[in-house]
Amino acid sequence: MVNQPDPQNKETSEWQGVIDNPWRRLRQFTDARIGLGRSGVSLPTRELLEFQLAHAQARDAVHTPLDFATLTSALEKLAQEFSILNKERPALVHSQADDRLVYLQRPDLGRRLSEDSRQVLIKKQQTPEKPFDLTIVIADGLSATAIAENALPFIRALAQGMAQENDNISLAPITLVEQGRVAIGDDVGELLNARAVLVMIGERPGLSSPDSLGLYLTWAPQRGLTDDKRNCISNVRKAGLSYTEAVRKLLYLLHEARRLQCSGVAIKDRSDDSVIGNSSGQTSFLITSGGQG
């Protein structure tokens, strides 16, 4: 009797490897993890390990302490390049959240300055006779990576933008906050007698964006303000919103805040009105090119 190959048997005995998805090329339209392929119904090894790496980077962004010493000296050096920047050495202060574990579970403590830090800023407060127009606060937030990678180039772009606008804005010394949330800028701004505060903070890291910087502008900062009093610019990073775009938006908001003497929902970000509506088409490749074939 001739041994006929059994197709069923062949399928199980000769493994064909991972099944690729030909629609992976649709990644030209999105950063979503489409077309990953499969082994059976499971993720191929390569895709599994790539995911683990991205998650590890996001976790590290949350848990690695920010190197404030390096940032401080880099900021001091930058202040020598731009006359608009305050020459005073940045102050390093701390929230009431003692460590990362407390910080993650008690957002209320991350929003308030520790008593020692308040005293540090109260001493500084006596220096200026008239209020500063803007104070910049840099807080680690949920991503030290975001600050380490973006804080310096963003402030450089901001200083360039302000120099071009020639607005004569007076800047307070920069304040660096350890274990800080956005609202801690209210404490700092109030103590430093600033008309407005810009908080630069590491945003909650996404799997594909562990390095996202958030910008929050608040007019007339004082303790107890709610989030509707702030304007936010999000996703500032190399692969996201560019520094120059972010500066353009921020200077627009700052200009409006100074004109209207307020910030938050009262100011609409109309800096991109011209873009809305024509950024992408009204339909998709799924309809235009086919349908039921």
Binding site: R33, G206, L207, F285
Partner: protein, 475 residues
């Protein structure tokens, strides 16, 4: 009004100043209750509170509102809609006996359906606090909640998926790419639901049209939803946009809901408008709600009630409007409410149990953020446990990575894994479609075809060959 609950253990007497406090102290530990300052102050206090809670008659929950009737329309809804006929078979029980009753063979699916309208969210929350994870799974699995629009969701041994094709700029082709990926992995029978990046009426309408065209072109037995504010969707309907399901995030207190910008009348009006569109083919469940422990506290609207009880009260809001889907987005809110994988898993099982016991078509966004102490293994655990418990649906997203909302939820692959392991099908109408389109050769066993399904091949053929083609070759 509120009375003091006492429990004597040995020579020590413990006191709880109200039912609300007793419930909070009896709750398994989680960071949100700690943040709110209502958590048990010691492990012993929690265990004692559970013993004291077990002795509370279910009837007490009808006499002592945790949030005053006069102050809160959700309390009024719960009290006014309570069905005493349905309550009769369990009206003599304490919370502790209620657990025994639920686990007993006497409480079969028919009996659980019979008493459903006699159970208040507070009763469900109370009993859940003295149940172990396996109890929550076993009882939920006996509860049957079936809903329908263009397909049927919640049948025994079925697990549906919401296809969630989010894109950070709502790019039409980007969204379509994720929809195609999902469909070709057999996802999307619960709903194709987009969280818009730009949240306004014009954008919602564009996205509704996109999904409506895909669903009608490929004759998919499913429904679409843009997860925008209920008032936006109402405006879309007034303008004639193709609205299948009306979405809203809901909470368990009136103050939470007003912080979300709606009240019960708004939902009633929206439901009525959607029903009048008559777009469902096999059913009329037109609402899609999302919930999640911690939302009331986050809106500072919790009245000192623990977060799990607030969450269960949201299901009273949901069941009033006969939703197709209710989704507890369990790990999205962050570690200040649910700290780690253990707390997220417990909360997911509690929410699913309470929802099903109250008659809500409960699904779960099995998810976590990168600042929570959780990872993919925790999600595998919760997905498997919920699927064993008969969860109605889970999310489906390319490679677990939501690039718009920046969190991780279950992938298309994950759903197929659990369907294979537990022998679960998709909704029957959708399964038939998957086979008709040659996406699956054997849908009952979650077996995908290896070749590209012909109906979708032509859409791909006309596309330019991008740089990413090189990536395919890794094998």
């Amino acid at each position: 009004m509120s009375k003091t609950y006492r429990y004597t253990l040995g020579s020590r007497q413990w006191e709880f100043s109200s039912l609300k406090e007793l419930m909070a102290r009896a709750t398994p530990a989680r960071s949100g209750d700690r943040l709110a300052g209502v958590i048990a102050r010691s492990a012993e206090e929690r265990a004692v509170a559970q013993m004291a809670l077990a002795e509370v008659p279910l009837k007490d929950f009808l006499n002592e509102a945790l949030i005053p009737y006069e102050d809160d329309e959700v309390t009024r809804l719960i009290m006014d809609d309570h069905n005493s006929m349905a309550f009769a078979p369990i009206s003599h029980l304490t919370v502790g006996d209620f657990r025994n009753w639920l686990l007993s063979d006497h409480a079969d699916s028919a009996m659980l359906a019979r008493v459903r309208d006699g159970i208040t969210p507070e009763m469900a929350a109370a009993v859940s606090k003295i149940m172990r994870n396996q109890d929550l799974i076993l009882v939920a699995q006996k509860c049957r909640v079936t809903t329908a629009f263009r397909n049927t969701i919640g049948l025994p041994q079925r697990l549906s998926t919401r296809l969630q094709p989010n894109h950070p700029t709502d790019d039409m082709n980007g969204i379509a790419a994720s929809i195609l990926d999902g469909l070709l992995y057999g996802s999307g029978d619960a709903v194709i639901g987009i969280n818009p990046a730009t949240d306004n009426v014009a954008q919602a309408t564009r996205l509704m049209k996109l999904m409506d065209e895909v669903i009608s072109t490929y004759e998919i037995p499913t429904q679409s939803c843009v997860l925008t504010h209920v008032t936006n969707t109402m405006e879309c309907m007034e303008n004639g946009a193709p609205v299948d399901l009306v979405f809203q995030s809901i909470g368990g207190t009136e103050a939470t809901n007003s912080s979300f910008g709606f009240n019960l009348n708004t939902l009633a009006e929206a439901q009525q408008m959607a029903l009048e569109l008559k777009r469902g083919s096999v059913g009329n469940n037109v609402m899609y709600f999302e919930t999640g422990q911690g939302s009331a506290l986050s809106a500072n609207a919790h009245h000192g009630v623990d977060q799990q009880t607030c969450e269960a009260r949201a299901y009273a809001v949901a069941r009033k409007f006969n939703p197709l889907l209710v989704n507890t987005v369990v790990g999205f809110i962050g570690p200040e409410y649910l700290f780690d994988g253990k707390e997220i898993i417990r909360a997911g099982l509690e929410d699913h149990f309470c929802g099903k016991l109250l008659g809500v078509p409960m699904g779960c966004d099995v998810c976590y953020t990168n600042h929570a102490e959780a990872d993919q293994n925790d999600m595998d655990n919760l997905l498997t446990l919920l699927s064993a418990a008969g969860c109605s649906f889970v999310m489906g997203i390319p490679g677990s990575d939501d690039i718009m909302l920046n969190y991780q939820t279950t992938s298309f692959h994950d759903a197929l894994y659990v369907r294979r392991v537990l022998g679960l099908g998709a909704s029957p109408e959708f399964e038939a479609w998957l086979e008709k389109m040659q996406i699956m050769s054997d849908a009952a066993n979650a077996r995908l075809t290896d070749a590209l399904p012909p109906a979708f091949a032509s859409s791909l053929k006309s596309l330019p060959v991008g740089n990413h083609d090189a990536e395919q070759k890794h094998g």
